[in-house]
Amino acid sequence: MPHNTDAVGKRYDPVVYAVGREKVKEYALAVGETNPLHLDVAAARAAGHADVVAPPMFAVVYQSPSVMPALFDPEVGIDFAMLVHSAQEFRWERLVVAGEELTTATTVAAISEKGGMGFFDFEVETVDAAGKPVATGIWKMIVRGEA
């Protein structure tokens, strides 16, 4: 099953994500977070933050709405029944707090094929309201060949 590499370099329109206090807490609790910086506004403020602090891996949440349209793009041509999230990389410039609006843009970084499997890498850049970098994600997907 050959994979079309024409979409490499394609960049999608940026998506804005508003970081909500309850959403940060919901994520933190789902991954077993106990640090009050992520759960308790008073504790976060006492530590000098404007509001609860998003755990670094909350990047998954604010980047997903930008990544999903790329995964579903017919030009990229991913077969969802065969999709495996194989690896994930994040680099952070700073912490994010509830109340911020972040803007994220996804680019198709690479598509290749080996052993009947397709390898899809998406580079995802998030900036803050001032346009300054917040985080970069590399989302790596494998599409397995027919069994």
Binding site: T34, M57, R91
Partner: protein
């Protein structure tokens, strides 16, 4: 509870205190589905998972990647984590008990403060490693 905000002093060979989580339940998967926005039915619909040849639903990788990331952030301070790269090497099933482990491989000079290079794993109760990660974090000068 004291949690690091300022960089903490770490040296090569230092080990992150192990955290054991589980047994994981389907409810844990569903809670993460809602929190993380991953509604792939293979993670919450047993009937569909079995029709796709799986013994049951299984956990999304970003759930245990998130658990490990959280554990790391609590060790070094969330503000000090600079990068985190995970590779999924196995799947996590209902009933699994996971061990979250990490260690410092090296501490190198950085821009200003030193940077620790870490390696981390998530291991099932069977001994199977289901996630391998590397990370970098700013640490205090010693």
């Amino acid at each position: 509870m004291t949690l690091p905000a300022a960089p903490v002093a770490l040296a090569a060979g230092d080990e992150m205190p192990t955290e054991v989580v589980g047994p994981l339940t389907r409810t844990d998967f569903v809670r993460y589905a809602g929190a993380g926005g991953d509604f792939n039915p293979l993670h919450h619909d047993d009937e569909l998972a079995r029709a796709a040849g799986r013994p049951s639903v299984f956990g999304m990788g970003m759930l245990h990647a998130g658990m490990l990331g959280t554990r790391l952030a609590r060790w070094v301070g969330p503000d000090n984590v600079r990068s985190y790269t995970v590779r999924f090497t196995g799947q996590v099933w209902p009933g699994d008990v996971l061990s979250l482990d990490g260690r410092v491989d090296a501490v190198e000079p950085g821009e200003g403060l030193p940077v620790a290079r870490l390696s981390l794993t998530v291991t099932r109760q069977t001994g199977e490693v289901v996630l391998r990660a590397t990370a970098s974090a700013v640490v205090a000068a010693t």
